[in-house]
Symmetry: C2
Subunit: 147 residues, 2 copies
């Protein structure tokens, strides 16, 4: 089992965080500006980052608490992995527990994706707290081939 | 096996990255300003973040390629875990492969530490590339209890 795990606290009520994870407008505001698709259960959202990207099938959508995506197209290392978002309300804050599971091997690319997910979680936090995230292509670059 | 894995590319020759990971001056510039101790093989470096912190024993110091720390004091979840830094030169860049291994369970705190390590790796990159990192207490806060 090799998983990417993260957690971030967002000073916000839960519905705003849920919206940022489940609407095209929200997702475009922190992950990639090139986000398209439908957002109901079983639908597919397409996330593009210039040449490449990911297609995510919406496996679970439990309002205000849990969202699960399955990767149905993208780099081979990502295929059939799942991404789970768990939201927990704690006082004035919402904590986001993130799990990207199903990696077959801890390849170099997985190390990169782990760090990059953290960069985008910080962008998600900024979007919800301030109204302004840094989605691709404006996000922080962490390696040569991204520049 | 539950590991925290990260990778970051730094536009720099390898010795500058190695120095940032193996000297008190370097470590103080990206992780915490409150870093003290000796930096030879088998020595212990103390990293403090206000009330808490970590004591790391230097298990391996292979110049320009690999550094391994063992956590000998700190939060119970961290005790006896190891942190490995592998450096690879690729053209004008140095890639840092980071592994925090030996976690017994994927506890909530592990999720937090994974995200926080990414924040500090971005600080390490900034220190080496620009001369200015954001060590504690100046680093990006990602949860309520850090503010």
């Amino acid at each position: 089992m090799v998983d990417i795990l993260h957690k971030i606290g967002i000073k916000s009520a839960m519905p705003a965080v849920y919206r940022a994870l489940t609407t095209i407008d929200g997702l475009s505001g922190w992950w990639t500006t090139d986000t398209t698709g439908e957002t109901g259960p079983g639908d597919v959202i397409r996330f593009r980052f210039g040449k490449g990207g990911f297609d995510m099938k919406l496996l679970e959508l439990d309002r205000d608490s849990r969202v699960v995506w399955q990767v149905i197209d993208g780099p081979p290392e990502w295929l059939d992995t799942t991404i789970t978002w768990e939201l927990r309300r704690e006082g004035d804050w919402t904590r986001v527990f993130f799990k990207h599971q199903g990696w077959r091997e801890p390849v170099d690319f997985m190390h990169h994706c782990s760090t990059k997910w953290a960069v985008f979680l910080v962008s998600l936090k900024a979007l919800v707290e301030t109204g302004r995230g840094t989605p691709w292509p404006h996000e922080l670059k962490i390696d040569s081939w991204e520049e």
